[in-house]
């Protein structure tokens, strides 16, 4: 187990180093996120939205920005290996499970940066009032982890396809839909101050994460080896 984790860590650090030097994925994700956030905040600023509609509407907009920003860049983790022809050296050297974990950690790092920058800006620009801040933070955290797990396995599946961009969104969206609905509901509850004692949405998102990672660890070797 320790050797798997060491190999995964090596892949994670290598991807971070490459990303730090090229900034392909992070630029794509952040550019999409910032332009969408600015467009949303300007366009909604001209409408009068009732206070009762705001919690749901803002939660939905926040997760639309997060999910589609993620879709704009996370496929790169596997696609760049295919495009740069480094996929064979990776296959020759590392075990599939370690590759999946390494890529997952890399995608989670990118998503963490995205969430840390975009969520506070969204709250600031939109005047988003949140009653249960801890619950909101936990919903965002568990949602982002689930988002990373869902997109990483799809990124591996589409790496060899010719129409990768369209396929990535088309395959990811149905897979991410239950997570999005859960996260939107959780953020809405956190904003309105409804009872959050059961931590329902956080539990559901964590369950989604566990199921996705477990399934991916079984499926990934089949996807990866031819």
């Amino acid at each position: 187990m320790l050797t798997y984790l060491n190999e995964a860590k090596a892949i994670w650090f290598r991807d971070l180093r490459s990303e730090f030097r090229t900034r392909y994925a992070i630029n794509a994700i952040l550019m999409f996120a910032f332009t969408t956030l600015v467009a949303v905040s300007f366009s909604l600023g001209s409408f009068r939205i009732s206070d009762s509609d705001k919690p749901f509407l803002y939660a939905a907009l926040l997760w639309i920005i997060l999910v589609f920003s993620a879709l704009s860049g996370l496929a790169r983790s596997f696609v760049k290996e295919e495009e740069a022809h480094t996929i064979d050296i990776l296959k020759l050297s590392a075990r599939p499970e370690a590759i999946f974990l390494g890529k997952l950690l890399f995608n989670l790092t990118l998503l963490g940066i995205l969430a840390l920058l975009i969520v506070p800006l969204f709250i600031l620009f939109m005047g988003y009032r949140i009653e249960h801040q801890l619950y909101f933070s936990m919903v965002v955290l568990s949602g982002v982890l689930g988002l990373g797990a869902g997109t990483t396995i799809v990124a591996a599946m589409i790496a060899r396809a010719s129409v990768r961009g369209a396929l990535f969104s088309a395959l990811s969206f149905p897979l991410l839909f239950p997570l999005m609905i859960t996260a939107i509901k959780g953020c809405e509850r956190a904003a309105t101050g409804m009872d959050v004692a059961g931590w329902h949405e956080v539990k559901l998102s964590v369950a989604y994460l566990v199921i996705m990672v477990t399934l991916s660890l079984f499926l990934f070797p089949l996807v990866w080896e031819e």
Binding site: R14, T22, L92, E226
Partner: protein, 211 residues
């Protein structure tokens, strides 16, 4: 008390490959032992590189079996990862990493216990001293070929797969590779896929896929 190092051998049984209806080769059989070199030759498109990719475990054969045996027991897919080194025109290392970073990364994911000094020594052995910290992306094609050889030899694999190993090399590079191949021949098994006479001549046996 003497410690015996495990004896490796490679066994191919009725290996065949076709892509759709196009048959590349069928019934490829051989047994390779330590200290031996097999040269795989054949016309363009006869499947030389594909056969090496099958042996490396990168693609599956359409029929037949490839067994890397460790003391007579199949080493499995993880064994092949640790015990195989490959040089091929289709392989690429990471452009945005230096030679040292590339080799250090590959050593770590292979779980090989290799020191920084051993990495530097290997880089020198292929004639890239002075370029250790330059990015792979700025290397010439001959320098890239040298670093590919370094990564293939770094973890001291018992099986070395060389697909057109001298391509893009200058005369000094060929001379270095010649020494490295001769050195590795004593320690392990080598398969060379090529149409070049000087590369085929290394083979103790020749497998011609066009026949």
């Amino acid at each position: 008390m003497s410690v015996q190092t495990p004896a490796y051998s490679l066994e191919l049984k009725n290996v065949a490959k076709h892509f759709g209806r196009t048959l590349l080769f069928k019934k490829v059989n051989f047994h390779l032992h330590p200290g031996e070199i097999i040269a795989v030759t054949g016309w363009n498109g006869s499947g030389k590189s594909t056969l090496l990719r099958i042996i490396a475990g990168l693609i599956r054969p359409s029929a037949g079996k490839v067994n890397l045996l460790k003391s007579g027991v199949p080493a499995g897919s993880d064994g092949r990862r640790k015990f195989t080194g490959m040089v091929s025109p289709a392989l690429a290392l990471y452009d945005e990493l230096s030679a040292v970073e590339n080799l250090n990364f590959l050593a770590r994911v292979r779980g090989a216990d290799i020191t920084e000094q051993e990495i530097l020594d290997m880089i020198s052995a292929v004639g890239l001293q002075g370029w250790e910290h330059a990015l792979y992306g700025i290397y010439s094609s001959g320098m890239k070929q040298r670093l590919k050889m370094a990564q293939a030899l770094l973890h001291k694999p018992p099986l070395l797969l060389l697909d057109e190993p001298f391509s893009n090399l200058d005369s000094k590079g060929i001379s270095r590779f010649d020494s490295l191949i001769s050195e590795r021949r004593r320690a392990g098994m080598i398969i060379i896929a090529s149409n070049e006479q000087r590369e085929i001549e290394y083979g103790d046996r020749i497998v011609n896929l066009s026949e």
